[in-house]
Symmetry: C2
């Protein structure tokens, strides 16, 4: 068999495996996706899914739990779009505010907004950006989050980002990606780049 | 010290560490960011950075190397925007085409377009989506990619996605995230969801 024929035959076998897996995955419902780990790309991945949802003419809700102190490019971009309800509730990283009471209040206000979005069947995708940080510092109770996720409309997708996702959330989630930090330009002395980090 | 005071003091120490790291990271230049691994979120992260760049009124070029057979939400979304040059060059996953020669030709045409974008100083961000797959199957030579990356305008950011990034690319990259597949809804029988996977 020539190299070309071998390639074709290998790819035919692979296609059969892929097609069978697609045929098996026939359940249609919204998922809970958790993006965690220390590597770069968690929030940007969530915002890529916002773009993807908008490409399907879906309605999207975003709540930023912590990054309120940063004016990000995504915020500037998505705020222009009527199909996105964009809420920035956090007051900045917890080492910037240095005020636990204020952080707890901001996180709980953000969570109330998140719950409204998770009760609204018109919203196809809810992004809860940096929520894991709020859970980690115990600004919010994991049980309240789990109850809201379980009660949401069946077709609604929810994406939750941030380092240190708690075990209970990973257990409940349908898809979990752990973003490993192999290398980071920042540690090599390169400033955060607009359009990449900011 | 009360719990509130302890929190404040911990966060003051953390802020000092973060601020010192930001002060050290003073080099201003474009970076090469590689998003690899088997987990979900590589392409969506790259597309989130497209949104971020657009929020800063930057010009963006996108080349999709493999996913041409899929009509993705991102494509529908970003094609509407004049600041994005969007090229879909691939003819679908290699197990769909089953034709190595055609795949090689498609990958090389895509790479020629990528090189044009990487020579254009007006483009702030270049996304080479699923390029790693083309490298893995040896549809493209890694040396040609490295030469193009090294010759690009100094302020240009390049994001490269796909499983199995080669060691030479990881070596050259400024930032590398390995997306680990902790859990995937697809394996539990849930179909790919528009707005999340598609």
């Amino acid at each position: 068999m020539s190299e070309t024929e071998k390639h074709k035959s290998r790819m035919q076998r692979k296609k059969a495996v892929v097609d069978a897996a697609i045929a098996r995955a026939d359940e249609i419902r919204g998922i809970v996706l958790v993006l965690t780990g220390n590597g770069k790309g968690k929030s940007s991945s969530a915002f890529g899914m916002v773009a993807r949802a908008l490409g399907h003419d879906q309605q999207v809700g975003v709540v930023q739990f912590i990054k309120g102190a940063f004016s990000t490019g995504e915020e500037a971009f998505f705020r222009r779009l009527p199909a996105v309800r964009y809420h920035v509730m956090g007051e900045g990283f917890t080492w910037e505010t240095q005020d636990r009471e204020r952080d707890v209040q901001a996180a709980q206000a953000a969570f109330a907004t998140a719950c409204e979005l998770m009760r609204d069947p018109a919203i196809n995708l809810v992004v809860l950006d940096e929520l894991n940080i709020a859970l980690k510092y115990r600004y919010l109770e994991i049980d309240a989050l789990i109850a809201a996720l379980q009660a949401r409309p069946a077709h609604q997708n929810v994406v939750i980002t941030g380092r240190g996702a708690p075990a209970e959330l990973i257990e409940l989630a349908d898809t979990v990606t752990e973003m490993g930090d192999v290398k980071h330009a920042f540690r090599a002395g390169v400033a955060a780049q607009p359009g990449i980090e900011l």
